[in-house]
């Protein structure tokens, strides 16, 4: 059974179309990164998945309709909507008490163990904690919940590099297993490169690319060439080109341009592209096609 299945998912606010009838499917045990510019419809898609907003089209989360069966779903679906949603007045101990009181799948000992590794005092209030500590606290609460689906919307926004790295490390090492599914949106895409198993690019309510990371590796290649080979490389129809320190870096969609990886190796250094570069290239290409 797919964890999330969407067919013709549509949502508009007045005349603005936030989701333009998208289709996608997320299998159990995957870590999907939804990436797109502001206003691409990522948060709207997540809100629909979480049952926070009504929508048109068909959407199933863990086999349920998230809007009409939200109360049943909240036991199996967890989310961190933003870094700053923990109430500022709550004490750390109160937050633990509360979640332990209302959530049937919360393992308090696990949350305590995670918090013990941080410098967060039990009697501190959220408003006395730094932004990074609040994120750690929220993560401690969420990771101690044995949920089937975890949704993260910009979970590390505004955190410094150290906290961001810790956040994803904890998520992967202490939380993720093959029975759980994680959907995450973020702007800090490079840090997610080695975290994700699947990738979805969105732009203006549409899905521009929906693929697994293995496919990204086999389908896309980034070629660094010296000026001498540039003309030959350009002849193979790269989807994007940029200059870095006097060298040209060309990005190829091997499947679309029927180029063999060996042809590229002959011209220069070949690597798997970074998500950010791929994003810029694929989005640029999509925009070019639309014009």
């Amino acid at each position: 059974m797919a964890c999330i299945e969407a067919r013709g998912l549509r949502k508009s606010f007045g005349t603005t179309v936030a989701l333009d009838g998208i289709n996608f499917r997320v299998e159990e045990g995957r870590i999907l990164g939804m990436i797109g510019p502001n206003g691409a419809g990522k948060t709207t898609a997540l809100n629909a998945i979480l049952g926070l907003t009504p929508y048109q089209g068909e959407l199933r989360v863990l086999g349920r309709n998230p809007w009409t069966e939200r109360d049943q779903l909240t036991r199996d679906v967890c989310f961190i909507a933003d870094v700053a949603v923990l109430p500022r007045w709550i004490r750390v101990s109160q937050a633990l008490d509360y979640v332990a009181g209302v959530h049937p799948r919360f393992d308090r000992a696990k949350a305590e163990a995670f918090l013990a590794k941080t410098s967060i005092g039990r009697d501190r209030k959220v408003k006395q904690l730094s932004k990074g500590m609040v994120a750690q606290l929220h993560l401690a609460l969420v990771m101690a919940i044995d949920a089937k689906l975890l949704v993260l919307d910009e979970p590390t926004l505004g955190l410094d590099l150290l906290y961001r790295k810790q956040f994803y490390d904890s998520l992967l090492n202490d939380y993720f297993d093959r029975n759980r599914t994680i959907v995450v949106t973020t702007h800090q895409v490079e840090e997610l490169q080695h975290v994700l198993t699947d990738l979805m690019f969105m732009d203006r309510g549409r899905i521009v690319l929906d693929t697994s990371m293995e496919d990204v590796e086999s389908r896309y290649a980034e070629l660094t060439v010296l000026p001498a080979q540039l003309a030959a490389a350009r002849a193979l129809k790269p989807i994007s080109e940029r200059d870095v320190l006097g060298r040209s870096i060309l990005l190829f969609d091997l499947a679309a341009s029927h180029v063999d990886r060996q042809q590229l190796v002959a011209l220069g250094e070949v690597r798997t592209p970074g998500i950010a570069d791929l994003f810029v290239a694929v989005l640029g290409e999509a925009k070019g096609a639309a014009v």
């Binding site: 926070l52 961190i80 007045w89 709550i90 109160q94 959530h103």
Partner: protein, 302 residues
């Protein structure tokens, strides 16, 4: 080495959380957030007690030596101001309840914490009902308890201050008013503060849930507009007088009670449960609250 495995399976087996349990934790959460619920009536009680002690000491000096002479008149200065004490605490409780209702569903959207609450398996129904229980049940019962304790402390303090002054302290303690007033007050708290004002709290919570900003304006505007339209169209003010009646509390008995001038006697509504106004009001309250629950479903942070 089987023990850890057994422990782990036990820990991962999901517990069931009953409605009562999530309701209980939702109410506790309101206490953590809104400490005014108990601090405001407590502060009112403390201020009252301080001024009461000062008043009694002045009374002792003024009445020095004449207690015995005026045995028959002694009762009136010694008749402790229970009514005033109760009125002060109840008034504060009403104000706290009103501001709580107006802010609660708006505040969680303003500080974005609604996203955290909605990430927990607590339904909108449980959340809104737990919030409604604060002005409807918790504040009345709590302020009743505080009033009762305050009145008892008044008795003790008055006894201590007046000890050896010649005043008949035993009379104060045997005076039946303390216990009678307590029962009357409890009845008043539950009926008037809880049931009679239920539509008011329901309306304020609806405004709090629905308002895009400034819930106070949203709560006040509709009645104002209805009054204005009625005045212009029919040149009548039925709606206004209806509202005024409603907010003044249920009708009190026309006939003065035996101890006239006794403030507490006005607290007992006449034939409270016979009044169509009560049941109509409760029905309206149910509608307001049902809409508020529905509205919260669609609301996110602002």
């Amino acid at each position: 080495m089987n023990t850890p495995n057994i422990a782990m399976t036990e820990a991962s087996a999901p517990r069931t959380i009953s409605f009562t349990q999530s309701f209980y934790w939702s109410v506790r959460r309101e206490f953590w957030e809104n400490r005014l619920i108990y601090l405001a009536p407590l502060a009112a009680a403390a201020i009252f007690l301080v001024s009461f002690v000062i008043n009694t000491m002045i009374l002792r000096r003024r009445m020095a030596g004449i207690w015995l002479v005026h045995e028959s008149r002694q009762q009136s200065p010694l008749d402790l101001p229970y009514g005033l004490c109760a009125a002060l605490i109840m008034g504060i409780a009403l104000v706290v309840g009103i501001f709580y209702s107006l802010d609660t569903l708006y505040g969680e959207r303003r500080d974005r914490s609604i996203l955290f609450w909605k990430s927990m398996p607590v339904s909108d129904l449980t959340t809104v009902l737990s919030k409604l229980s604060i002005p409807l049940v918790i504040i009345p019962v709590l302020s009743y308890a505080i009033t009762l304790v305050t009145q008892f402390v008044m008795l003790v303090l008055a006894s201590v201050v007046l000890l050896g002054s010649g005043a008949n302290i035993a009379l104060m303690w045997t005076h039946e008013s303390f216990f009678r007033v307590s029962l009357d007050l409890f009845y008043h708290m539950l009926t008037v503060h809880g049931l009679w004002y239920a539509p008011l709290y329901g309306w304020l919570m609806l405004a709090s849930a629905a308002a895009p900003r400034a819930p106070f304006v949203w709560a006040v505007m509709p009645p104002f507009v209805i009054w204005g339209l009625e005045k212009m169209a029919f040149n009548t003010t039925h709606f206004l007088s209806f509202l005024k009646e409603r907010l003044m509390g249920p009708p009190t008995p026309d006939m003065p009670m035996p101890q006239s001038g006794d403030f507490m006697s006005t607290l007992i509504p006449h034939h409270f449960f016979d009044q169509p106004g009560l049941w109509g009001g409760l029905a309206v309250a149910v509608v307001f609250v049902a809409i508020a629950i529905r509205v919260r479903r669609y609301r996110g942070p602002i």
